[in-house]
């Protein structure tokens, strides 16, 4: 029997606001424990929440970027449960009236485009951090993180494989980062993913029983966990058993999922409208204003690059991995007029340099102007492509412009036919055996002569000229 997986993903993304969702404490990551808290996010007696307007703005942005309907009115609800990292004993979230609903994202898969529905996007507050002591039965709580704003993005169960899930995650990730509303750091916890997984026999419409997967803290782990879980459920069904609806935790070291069932009880969250917060009314004008301010999104940008710059999809993909990189590329294209050449230099050399040093493109010592100038120098024939490889490395190391480096190192390409002919003559004279063999029919030795001329000119000879000259002169 063949089974199809049915997967839905729930993503929690921390928003890059300066202050928390309901109080003015800073949202900075990595601060000393319990130093970014106030009476409000600590849930002390008598405190009240007041909504950070920017959180609404960012959530609308995400809703628009994923083609959701932005509800004219939404409101907050309390999700009641007890846990030490939840100071008030309830989380302020949205339940019956979320901000955005019924959107989608398109995935670029090998087989083509696939649309994944987004059920809803809503605002809520984050909880604190609980750390367990290995040596004694204690847990320690750092409440810095309570009140950091989150958006929860719930997908429709449209995902049909671990690969698709990965692609969906990457799509959402790049959109969030492009919008500048989330830094998308899974390791630091600013981008989290839970999954609902079930399988059903091929052709069956009804969904199977699903398990909820948690504790997958990297893209790779999400894929591994899903692959494992699909297999696990398949094994159960093939053995005639039934899949239990439960929450399972991904165990990274063991490579398996563990049931939480014995410790977990069905949560009764007793949702009810939060009486301390008033409704959020979002006007058409506000939505339009935000819509106008949206940056070009990655998918659209990639399509435009392919169309306008005539570069292949692969290049477009690499060049749009970040907004900053895409902007860098476009600037170089503007200044040099050579989209494909620019792409090659950025993908081949610039990215290699900055990745080695783990630098961001915004900190690259080679400015778009400098790169464009170098490209122009190649186009003019001042240096060869080969020499340029040296030059660009030097540009990166020193931050100096290409022209200065070429002059300093005397790397100007030799284009004087006469001078080159002289070199060719000398090379021919220095290698009589190879010359004889070549004239005798060993065509392969052409490359040898090219190499020798290049060596003699320290790589500065214009390759095209060398080719032409050698062809003429070797022939005799």
């Amino acid at each position: 029997m063949e089974y199809d997986p049915v997967i839905g993903l729930e993503i929690h993304a921390q928003l890059l606001t300066d202050s928390k969702i309901f109080c003015g404490c800073s949202t900075k990551f990595g601060a000393s424990p319990n130093t970014l808290t106030c009476q409000i996010c600590l849930g002390m007696p008598g405190v009240l929440p007041v909504l950070n307007k920017k959180v609404v703005e960012y959530t609308i942005k995400m809703g628009l970027a994923t083609h959701c309907r932005i509800n004219a009115e939404c409101s907050f609800a309390r999700k009641n449960y007890f846990y030490p990292d939840l100071p008030k004993g309830y989380q302020i979230s949205q339940y019956a009236y979320p901000l955005a609903e019924q959107g989608y994202v398109d995935l670029e898969l090998e087989e083509g485009r696939k649309r994944i529905g987004i059920t809803r996007i809503h605002m809520e507050e984050d909880a604190g951090k609980l750390m367990h002591d290995e040596h004694n039965p204690s847990s320690y709580i750092d409440l810095n993180r309570t009140g950091v704003p989150l958006i929860e993005i719930v997908s429709e169960p449209d995902i049909r494989s671990a690969e698709e899930a990965s692609a969906y995650l990457r799509r959402l990730h790049e959109i969030l980062v492009y919008l500048g509303i989330c830094d998308g750091n899974m390791e630091e916890g600013s981008f989290r993913c839970d999954a609902n997984v079930s399988i059903r026999p091929k052709g069956q419409e009804a969904f199977g029983t699903r398990a909820e997967l948690k504790n997958m803290n990297s893209f790779r782990n999400v894929q591994r966990a899903l692959e494992y879980e699909i297999k696990r459920q398949q094994y159960i069904l093939e053995g005639g058993g039934e899949v239990v609806q439960e929450t399972r935790l991904w165990d990274d070291t063991g490579g398996v999922t563990h049931s939480m069932r014995s410790k977990e009880e069905a949560h009764d969250y007793r949702y009810f409208p939060d009486p301390d917060l008033v409704a959020v009314a979002i006007s058409r004008e506000w939505v339009e204003e935000i819509h106008k301010g949206l940056p070009e999104l990655p998918l659209e940008k990639r399509e435009r690059f392919i169309r306008d710059y005539q570069i292949p999809a692969y290049d477009a993909g690499v060049l749009t991995t970040s907004r900053a990189l895409a902007d860098y590329y476009e600037e170089v294209v503007k200044l040099s007029g050579q989209p494909k050449v620019a792409s090659n230099w950025i993908m081949g050399d610039i990215l290699r340099f900055i990745n080695e040093e783990k630098r961001d493109i915004t900190a690259c010592p080679v400015t778009p102007q400098a790169l464009a100038d170098m490209i122009r120098l190649i186009e003019e024939g001042t240096i060869s492509g080969k020499i340029a490889k040296e030059v660009i490395e030097e540009m990166y190391k020193t931050g100096k412009p290409a022209k200065a480096i070429i002059e300093e190192k005397g790397l100007v390409q030799i284009t004087d036919e006469g001078a080159l002919a002289q070199v060719v003559t000398e090379v021919m004279a220095a290698n009589p055996n190879q010359l004889a063999q070549y004239r005798g029919g060993k065509d392969k030795l052409f490359g040898f002569f090219v190499g020798q001329v290049m060596k003699a000119t320290q790589g500065k000879a214009n390759p095209q000229l060398i080719n032409d000259l050698l062809k003429k002169m070797l022939a005799g």
Partner: protein, 119 residues
């Protein structure tokens, strides 16, 4: 007769009759125990019995709400309906760690400590 006493008398008769009519309690002891667990409270046998009886009386009294016609009525969640109470995204000074931990029943170093959560 004082209103409170008379009203309470009437309520008691009503509850008695309702109980007979229903032949069943509105809330049983095991449900009371479950609700207590949800609320992180624990009671002795005697307390649970007492609570069950008291809650029953109260819940039976609540049934009178069913007589009110609420078709098409929006639930009233706020005394005064308002919208868009916002604040700007500005950082304000937090409490010092000392102040944050000052009331903690068990603070260890920089943290609040609790008995271990059994995961």
């Amino acid at each position: 007769m004082r209103l409170a006493a008379e009203a309470s008398y009437v309520v008691r008769i009503w509850i008695f009759l309702e109980n007979i009519r229903r032949k069943v309690l509105k809330i049983q002891k095991d449900e009371v125990t479950h609700v207590a667990h949800l609320a992180r409270l624990e009671f002795t046998e005697a307390e649970t019995e007492k609570f069950t009886a008291q809650l029953n009386n109260i819940l039976i009294y609540m049934d009178m709400l069913n007589r009110a016609d609420t078709t098409g009525v929006e639930p009233m969640t706020h005394a005064i309906a308002q919208k868009n109470a916002f604040r700007e995204d500005l950082v304000k000074e937090s409490l010092s760690r000392e102040a944050t931990l000052a009331n903690a029943p068990d603070a260890r170093g920089d943290f609040f400590r609790v008995p271990k959560v059994i995961e």
